[in-house]
């Protein structure tokens, strides 16, 4: 009926493209996938690129980067992992847990380097931290949850109920919530779940549960990170102090933030990648946490003032990033 013939032509043309697919010889192909577009994960990506450049690799010449973003959707993450599998990229860097899980499931014959994965063990990526026998290795962004709670206790001594904002669909956030619940017992605090599987669910949960808690806490949840502006505004509207486990999240209306510089996480990841490029096997390398030296303390005295909170002077003196009178000072 005519359409058939047109379709055959289309298929033939596409088949020809298969034949003339451009292959840049000699260059190494690196597929980098990240779960969602938010500052921490973008910084991780930038760090990886920086580490490659520092090691003398020219982007686009020695290494070809195929950067993909799953837009927060597991389906897209899997589609990207499949694309990397069928494209025969030589190395895969997967930023954030769900992207890493998708890649580790689909790609078993080439190195997969995960980054910014809080609990690579609980997520089933590796058997244990340190050296493993599989093709998967990487850097965890496990954050000091207990320290966050102790900070809350120091700055808000009256606080009893801590509302933790997270997406129960992100394994990383489930781990952080479990750690928080365990640590809260010893500190005489109660953890209240504020769950949302999407930014909109998260905001409505925050609006309905938020008034009942004393302090809001958000770890390194990717869903929260990608809608942090709205969460920060909601917290200010509710007049509840917000504490974040990551600096860029803290910049959106939090009083306190204590966490890693994700650029540094990217650089550590990039160093693993460089070692692999130089001939190391994933089995030779160690999956690790970031050293405490990279932890940074963020304090926003303006937000504290508007909430009528007094931050102890000895803590203020320790801040790496201090916001006062609308100005941010990085020490």
């Amino acid at each position: 009926m005519g359409i058939g013939r047109e379709l055959v032509v289309v298929i033939a043309v596409v088949l020809c493209m298969f034949g003339i697919s451009l292959n840049v010889f000699g260059a190494v192909k690196i597929g980098i996938t990240q779960l969602v577009d938010h500052p921490a994960l973008n910084l991780t990506y930038d760090g990886v690129i920086k580490a490659l450049e520092d090691a003398g690799y020219k982007i686009g010449k020695d290494v070809i980067i195929d950067r993909q973003n799953a837009q927060g959707n597991m389906q897209n993450a899997v589609a990207i992992a499949r694309k990397f599998a069928s494209d025969k990229v030589d190395y895969v860097v997967a930023i954030a847990t769900l992207s890493a899980q998708a890649c580790a499931q689909m790609i078993t014959d080439r190195p997969v380097i995960f980054s910014s994965v809080t609990d690579p063990v609980g997520a089933g990526l590796i058997k244990k931290l340190g050296k493993n026998t599989s093709n998967v290795v990487g850097i965890s962004d496990m954050t000091p949850v207990e320290t966050h709670l102790k900070l809350i206790k120091l700055v808000f001594p009256q606080a009893k109920k801590i509302g933790i904002i997270y997406n129960p669909g992100e394994p990383n956030s489930v781990t952080i919530t479990n750690i928080a619940k365990e640590a809260a017992g010893g500190l005489n605090l109660t953890i209240v779940d504020i769950p949302g599987t999407s930014p909109s669910e998260m905001i409505s949960a925050l609006n309905s549960i938020g008034p009942d808690v004393d302090v809001l806490y958000v770890g390194t949840d990717n869903t929260a990170a990608s809608s942090m502006e709205a969460i920060g505004k909601a917290a200010l509207r509710l007049k509840k102090p917000l504490v974040a486990g990551e600096i860029d999240m803290a910049r959106n209306g939090a009083v306190l933030g204590f966490g890693f510089n994700y650029y540094q996480i990217g650089i550590e990841t990039g160093r693993l990648l460089v070692q692999l490029l130089k001939g190391a096997k994933p089995q030779d390398l160690e999956s690790q946490l970031i050293s405490p030296d990279s932890l940074m303390l963020y304090i926003n005295l303006d937000v504290a003032k508007s909430l009528g909170v007094k931050v102890p002077a000895d803590l203020v003196s320790r801040a790496d990033i201090l916001v006062q009178n609308g100005k941010e000072v990085v020490k």
């Binding site: 058939g4 389906q75 609980g122 997520a123």
Partner: protein
């Protein structure tokens, strides 16, 4: 290439389901967007609970059948249009699927892992310890337990054989069913409802059978896909109906008026072709800024344009 065949065959099961509801019994059914996920959710949850993959898959098929049954009940009992009825069921399934999994997504672990401790215990503290005191908590995660699935994802042909056998068995069973006298009436119901009614048979029976079988196929597809790709996700069903329709239409274009196995090969071959075109688009599309997420729009445009062309030529009445 093997991966494309594997994924195409996985998709073809859902496409067979959509073919049965849309074409064979002519009851447009949007439930597959939900029952596809339902199959995956049931299968992976049962795998977690320690059941074997065969049992989990069979239960997934049953769950899909149940969903189809509910749609058929709503459609026939309350005389609600099947499109509207199935949208209701599909929407409800979103909540049910999250309840089944206990979270919006659930991975399928391939090996046992140990636990992880909190950051402070692992690294021996943070720079603020002098201010805040030493670590007190003793969190130790439980890790995950491996589950056995029949796929190894090595693209060495093993998975392909498994999937192809399941598809072959399912299609042959369906063909044998359509050959029976009941199957003949079943096909007749889709082509001419009045004729079936005039034969003194309750036509609602065929609506039930069609929707039950259709959604059972979709759930089977979702269950196998989850085991194959290593997770079940509450959003993985979005667009299933449209993608399957595109596959069916591709199959119809290829075979034309010829109906092999009562047209059961339309969705199978169509799904393979669809997956092939999809992988080409993913592979070469980035040159023109094409993203994986754009594929749904392209598919929708494709289905609409094929229907438009057919209407324009007044050759057949479709959908």
């Amino acid at each position: 290439m093997i991966v494309i065949l594997e994924q195409g065959l996985l998709l073809s099961l859902a496409a067979v389901g959509v073919y049965i509801s849309f074409r064979v019994v002519d009851l447009p059914d949007l439930t597959p967007d939900g029952s596809y996920v339902l199959g995956g959710a049931v299968a992976v949850s049962l795998l977690y609970a320690g059941h074997g993959w065969v049992f989990s898959t069979l239960m997934a098929i049953l769950s899909g059948a149940l969903a189809g049954c509910v749609v058929a009940f709503i459609t026939t009992r309350f005389r609600i249009n099947s499109l509207l009825g199935s949208i209701m069921v599909m929407t409800g399934l979103y909540s049910i699927n999250i309840r089944i999994m206990g979270a919006p997504n659930l991975p399928v672990p391939r090996f046992d892992t140990g636990g992880i401790t909190g950051y402070e215990s692992a690294m021996g503290g943070t720079p603020l310890d002098d201010l805040l005191g030493k670590t007190t908590s003793s969190y130790h995660g439980s890790g995950v337990k491996a589950v056995k699935v029949p796929f190894d994802n090595l693209a060495n042909g093993h998975d392909l054989v498994v999937i192809a056998s399941i598809v072959a068995v399912a299609v042959v069973l369906m063909w044998l069913f359509l050959r029976t006298e009941f199957g003949m009436m079943f096909r007749g119901y889709g082509r001419n409802r009045m004729a079936v009614r005039n034969l003194g048979v309750n036509p609602d029976l065929y609506a039930y059978v069609g929707l039950v079988i259709g959604n059972a196929f979709t759930a089977l597809s979702g269950a196998l896909f989850s085991m194959y790709s290593g997770f079940a996700d509450v959003n993985m069903g979005v667009g299933t109906v449209v993608i399957c329709l595109a596959s069916v239409i591709l199959g119809e274009i290829i075979f034309g008026r010829y109906e092999p196995l009562y047209g059961m090969l339309f969705p199978v071959v169509g799904a393979l072709l669809y997956q092939f075109l999809l992988s080409l688009a993913m592979r070469y599309g980035y040159a023109i800024g094409f993203k994986p997420s754009d594929m749904k729009l392209v598919t929708a445009l494709f289905v609409v344009s094929v229907i438009a062309i057919r209407r324009f030529r007044k050759s057949e009445v479709i959908i």
